[in-house]
Subunit: 237 residues, 2 copies
């Protein structure tokens, strides 16, 4: 009886931890999505709200960290229970970084706003963000079902984001070369695009952590975390 009682308290604590992660994921998602909307519509007030939101995401990460460590100390879990807790710590760290990247994009809204974004670039940024956000949304869904197979599938989708980022990178270089007045805003947009590409990376990290929580193994095969723009010497082919 005592054992089953302890188990049930532990299960409640695990559920509480999972709820924290899900909440934090929802906040980070919203920040990214709002930051992109603020960027393409030059909405400084919305950008400011995204920037303020980051404190809450950071606080949630600290709370999750504190609960996780308390659970390890009090319950002394092993095997899959321990992986569950350590995995939650890792996922919370990734989501905290996603929030930071949303904030970083929001901070660039003012600098970009003064010169406006060429429509094709705005569409490119939106499209890239849609891909990264769908990757993030899907991985948070997989987190709630804990499917190792689905986690593996998401991990492979990162290449699509990388390819689109590379093409956007070239396009921006072209704009900069066409008119020096585009250099400053396009530089900010380049960093925004890079931030979005990194959000995709964090979604992939989360997929790998879910796989690990479920199986105790790292997923097989190398996954290039860097983008493919490092060797671009021509703005367009």
């Amino acid at each position: 009886m005592v054992t089953s009682h302890i188990y049930s308290v532990f299960d409640d604590e695990l559920k509480h931890l999972a709820r924290g992660i899900a909440e934090m994921g929802g906040m980070a998602e919203q920040m990214v999505s709002d930051s992109i909307r603020a960027l393409v519509t030059s909405d400084a007030a919305l950008a400011q709200r995204v920037i303020s939101q980051d404190v809450l995401v950071d606080k949630t990460e600290r709370d999750i960290g504190d609960s996780a460590i308390l659970m390890i100390a009090k319950r002394q879990p092993v095997a899959s229970d321990l992986r569950e807790i350590i995995g939650s710590l890792r996922i919370a760290a990734d989501l905290e970084r996603v929030g930071d990247l949303g904030k970083s994009n929001a901070k660039r809204v003012i600098a970009v706003q003064s010169s406006g974004i060429p429509r094709p670039l705005a569409r490119g940024i939106e499209h890239l963000a849609e891909l990264a956000l769908s990757q993030l949304k899907d991985v948070l869904d997989v987190y709630s079902t804990r499917s190792a197979e689905k986690a593996e599938a998401i991990r492979r989708r990162d290449e699509e984001i990388d390819a689109m980022y590379t093409s956007l990178f070239r396009e921006m270089l072209t704009y900069m070369m066409e008119d020096p007045r585009n250099i400053t805003p396009c530089t900010h947009l380049l960093f925004c695009a890079k931030n979005i590409e990194r959000i995709g990376d964090h979604a992939t990290n989360i997929a790998e952590t879910i796989y690990y929580m479920k199986t105790g193994e790292q997923p097989a095969g190398e996954r290039p975390k860097d983008d493919n723009t490092a060797t671009v010497v021509q703005p367009a082919e």
Copy 2:
């Protein structure tokens, strides 16, 4: 007797973990320092060596993670012993990212090489890297002494790196505006500079983790993790 025996095994395991972190720190430091040398001297062979080295850093992080989780499961540590292990996991994650950033810079050597780096920019990059590397070196020294006070002091030094990064950012925009042929190489250099600034951030994260390991508390006061270039609308004042 039995208790003291267990304690001594646990202490050995903790020392082994700390050695792993120190080793990983040395590798990451070397990668960053070599990547900068490769960049400013256009040394493609050295860049290639940095890129290959990253696999080893990644492997060391996984090994540290595996040992840490095994230690938690077997020894069921609490309080400062548990913080020591969780802290090591966090530091290993930061060092893994530092290695990635060194690799990312090394990958840009070829793209930058074809057009060469203007001497003042090369000096700027070197100087920024020196600051970030001294920050990283110092934080690894603090790790070996576990001084919460010194960890706090390092954390405050991040502002210096951010200020220098912002001034380099403006300088690069000026070069791009002067001559469109500078746009592609300077874009790569901008990303290199940003990578170096992020290495400083990771050193600061590590300082915060050491403070936490030692005291069980997060250091007081906000620390802005984003750089100050987000609002730059003019290349030079």
